[in-house]
Structure formats: C-alpha cells, structure tokens
C-alpha cells in the first residue's frame, strides 16, 4: 500500500466485531477515512483444488463446507449443477421442499446479518432479540432436516427425507411466531434515532461503483439494481416472489431490505406449505459426464457453480463464484471510501454481509 497519508490504521484480523478473520487497512487523515484495503488469506483452504479429481459423491459434502452460514444453498447449487448435467428430473414435492429449506436458510442468514450489524453499532438489545428469533428458525430447520447446520438434505433427484403433517404444522408455528415478533424489531430499527445517526447516509454505494465490481444480492438491490437469480425460477414466481428494491444504497437501506426479504420468505414458505403436492420425494438416476454452469440465489447474492465431470463421475474442473467476493470488493473500494469517521468502517463492512469463508474458499 502506498503511503500518501501519515496514519495507516489496521483493523483485525481478530476483532470483536468480526465473526471471521479479515484485515482492513485504513488510510486516514484525522478522523476521515481516505481509502481502505481489505486483506484476505486467513481462511484460504483451496477447496476448489482439493475437489478436482474426486468423485461427485465427495464433492457434494465438500461444497457444503464452503460456508457454514449458507450451507443449504451451496448444497442446492452443486446438486442443481449435477442434475443439469445428467438431465435428472426432480419430483414436484421435492422441489417444494427444496424451496422451503432454502427460504428457511435465507431467513436465518438474514437474521444473523442484521444481528451482526446491530451488534457492531452497539445496539445490543436489538441484536439479542434478533439472535433469539434466529433460534426459532434454526429449530424449524432442525425439525425438517435433523440437524442445525450441514444437513446434506438435498440429493440428486430429490431430497433425503419427506416431511409429514406434524412437521409442517411445527414449521408453520415457528413462522407465525416470527411474523408476530419481527414487526416490533423492524419498528425499533426503522425509528430509532441513534440507529439512524449511525446508518442513514453512511457507506453509500452508487450504481456506477456497483456495476464496476459486479455487486449481487441484497447489497445490489439496496442500490436500485434489480438483480436476483430467483426471477428465472418459475416456481418462485408462482409462490408469490417479487423483486424488492430500495434506492438509497446506504447501510440503513441494506439492513431494511433484509428485513423486507424476511417477511417475503415467511410468505413464500407459508404458500409452499399450503399448496405442496403429494408424491415421491426422491427418484434415482445416473450421473453422466458433461459441463455446465448453474446459478442460484444465495442469501448474499448469486452463487454460480461451473462444473465439468468425466464419465466416471469425477470432477475435472470446478469453479465456484460466491457472492461475497463481489460484495466485499465493493465494500472495500466503494462503500468504505471517504467515510467521515473511522468508527463507521466496521459497521459499513458488516452491512454488506461479508462472508470471508465464502470469498476465499
């Protein structure tokens, strides 16, 4: 980093605000932040490299362990890619179950992201409320799949287990609880004067900067860019999904957009549970060779798997494009530039929901 100012302030890698190790080097002039540089490399494991040459049965578990927060969506993406290669049809009931689990996963991820932000701006009361609400969602996931994280619920040609009426009722009860509790917390966040001071107009991401680094997910949608991989999936539109967009592009609108999406996810799961058809949940088929690119919408944005398999089912080439790469990049080069206070660096960084484990793999 070139020295153009006198003080270069490093934050991290072990910092109370960060869940994961990352190092932010800030060039400051007084209290003002001129520019920042995010330094990675602390969680680089080389997952893509160790995937090459392994059979697909091992890949699906390795792919799930790219990220622990959004493990379900990594599972969905790699299985979707395998099914696309081998033309495997998925029974209708399994597709509904996949959507239900994915939306539950999105809810817990968004709640965790908003918890982290509230914790970073030192509003611990609201943060703890949100974290407690997340436990309700985790319970619903546990009832459905059998474990909290790393469920490996989705398999080629369907899902691992079916849900019965009792489980569906319990998931509905959990959703009712969230729908009853969440508006109060959103109200607290939206009207809190001190929260507004720390969030509104801070860390603005303009459309030009967003396009330059290819931002995806809630970070892009909060800046007014209509970009969501779910719009290409017919089943989502049938279940009442629509694009949510906010225009301001600051920290406040990113967090409020996640709250909006939480309500939408509740709505989608309830619709899915109401109209879920009867039938089998798992059909068998063979995995064949081929190459494909598969994109799904992760809680943080578009997740793309580019996979090539040989005839034995072994991986020749794989590339994982995770949403956090683009979002952390935009965070470091656009959002954290010219901040008026060094105290806003961590909160701006967290507001883009960075997942370093995803970004480095």
């Amino acid at each position: 980093m070139k020295k153009i100012v006198d003080v270069s302030l490093p934050i991290g890698p072990v910092h109370p605000c960060f869940k994961e190790p990352a190092r932010i080097k800030c060039e400051t002039a007084g209290e003002r932040v001129i520019r920042t540089e995010v330094e990675l490399g602390y969680v680089k494991k080389g997952i893509e490299k160790i995937m090459i040459g392994r059979p697909w049965q091992e890949i699906i578990f390795l792919a799930e362990r790219v990220c622990g927060i959004c493990s379900v969506v990594h599972n969905t993406a790699i299985i979707g890619a395998l099914e696309k290669i081998s033309n495997i049809t998925v029974p209708m009931r399994a597709m509904y179950l996949r959507i239900i689990l994915n939306e539950l996963d999105r809810m817990q991820s968004h709640l965790l992201a908003n918890y982290s932000y509230c914790y970073t701006i030192e509003h611990e009361t609201l943060a703890m409320y949100l974290l407690n609400l997340r436990e309700t969602v985790m319970d619903a996931i546990e009832i459905m799949t059998g474990t909290r994280i790393m469920a490996a619920y989705i398999v080629p040609g369907g899902v691992r287990t079916d849900i019965n009426r009792e489980i569906a009722t319990k998931i509905c009860e959990a959703l009712d609880h969230i729908e009853a509790e969440l508006p109060r917390f959103v109200q607290m966040f939206a009207t809190g004067p001190l929260i507004a001071l720390r969030s509104k107009g801070i860390g603005i991401l303009s459309v030009k900067d967003a396009k330059e680094s290819g931002v995806v997910g809630p970070t892009a949608r909060a800046s007014g860019i209509a970009r969501d991989a779910r719009e290409h999936e017919l089943l989502y539109t049938e279940l009442g999904w629509h694009m949510i967009i906010r225009q301001d592009g600051d920290n406040f609108s990113r967090i409020m957009l996640r709250f909006d999406e939480l309500f939408q996810s509740v709505h989608i799961i309830k619709n899915a549970l109401a109209v879920i058809p009867e039938g089998p949940v798992r059909l068998g088929n063979r995995i064949t060779s081929g190459r494909t690119k598969h994109t799904v919408e992760a809680p943080r944005g578009e997740l793309t798997y580019d996979v090539e398999l040989d005839e034995n089912g072994q991986v020749i080439m794989i590339s994982i494009q995770t949403p956090s790469i683009m979002n952390v990049d935009a965070g470091s080069h656009a959002m954290m530039k010219n901040l008026s206070s060094i105290a806003d660096v961590t909160s701006t960084f967290i507001s883009a929901d960075p997942c370093i484990a995803c970004a480095e793999r």
């Binding site: 330059e212 290819g214 590339s319 494009q321 683009m326 990049d329």
Partner: protein, 118 residues
C-alpha cells in the same frame, strides 16, 4: 521500511490468482495485451490489492461490457486497466484515447501502455 504489522502478501496473492476463474481472467487479459501469463501475473500482483485479484473475473466482465461499443477503447482495453484493475489512472487513459483518435497506430500505443503499467 520494515513494518511489524505489514506482511509480504505476494504468496497469498499468487494463490488467489491460481483459482480456476481468476486464472481464466488472467489468461484473457494477457491475450488482450499480448503478453505471457507469468508477466500478467507479475503486473497484477504488483499493482492490485487482494480483493481486486479475488474478484478479477466479474470486474473484467463489467469492463468487457463497458468497452463493447467502442473499437478503439476495446483494442487498447482501457476499461480493463482503469476501472477494473486500477493499474492505469483515468487521465492517462484519456490521453491514450485522444492520441489513438488523432491517428497514432494502436500497436505503438499498446507498447506504451505496457510500459506504463509495468
């Protein structure tokens, strides 16, 4: 100057560049500028920070879209070097663009650009 808290990031940057998607992006950019992959890696490691290298694929895609409708800019790959990788300053890029418009041959300018970024 030897700083306690600054580490040599070159090995980590090279690991980041060796990812499948990043490697493809490096190859594409090297073909554009007419140099080898090793030279391109060296330039990128020297001039870019870690997050740009990790996100090289989608940044270059955005630059491709920006340069699609102008043949001169595309031949000189100016958006790739300014907005996408920050190797070249905006004013220098404008200067190169102006000289290309006034009739200087592209090959000569490319050599100058290469000299400017190394």
């Amino acid at each position: 100057m030897d700083l306690i808290y600054e580490r040599n990031l070159q090995p980590m940057k090279l690991v980041a560049l060796k990812g499948t998607r990043q490697d493809q992006a490096v190859l594409d950019l090297a073909t554009r500028l007419g140099i080898s992959r090793q030279q391109m890696r060296k330039i990128l490691i020297k001039g870019c920070d870690m997050m740009i290298l990790e996100n090289l694929g989608s940044r270059l895609e955005a630059a491709d879209a920006a340069s699609a409708d102008d043949a001169v800019i595309d031949a000189l790959s100016l958006p790739h070097l300014t907005a996408a990788t920050c190797l070249l300053s905006e004013s220098a890029a404008d200067e190169f663009h102006r000289r290309a418009d006034s009739g200087t041959p592209i090959s000569e300018l490319l050599a100058e650009i290469l000299e400017a970024i190394t």
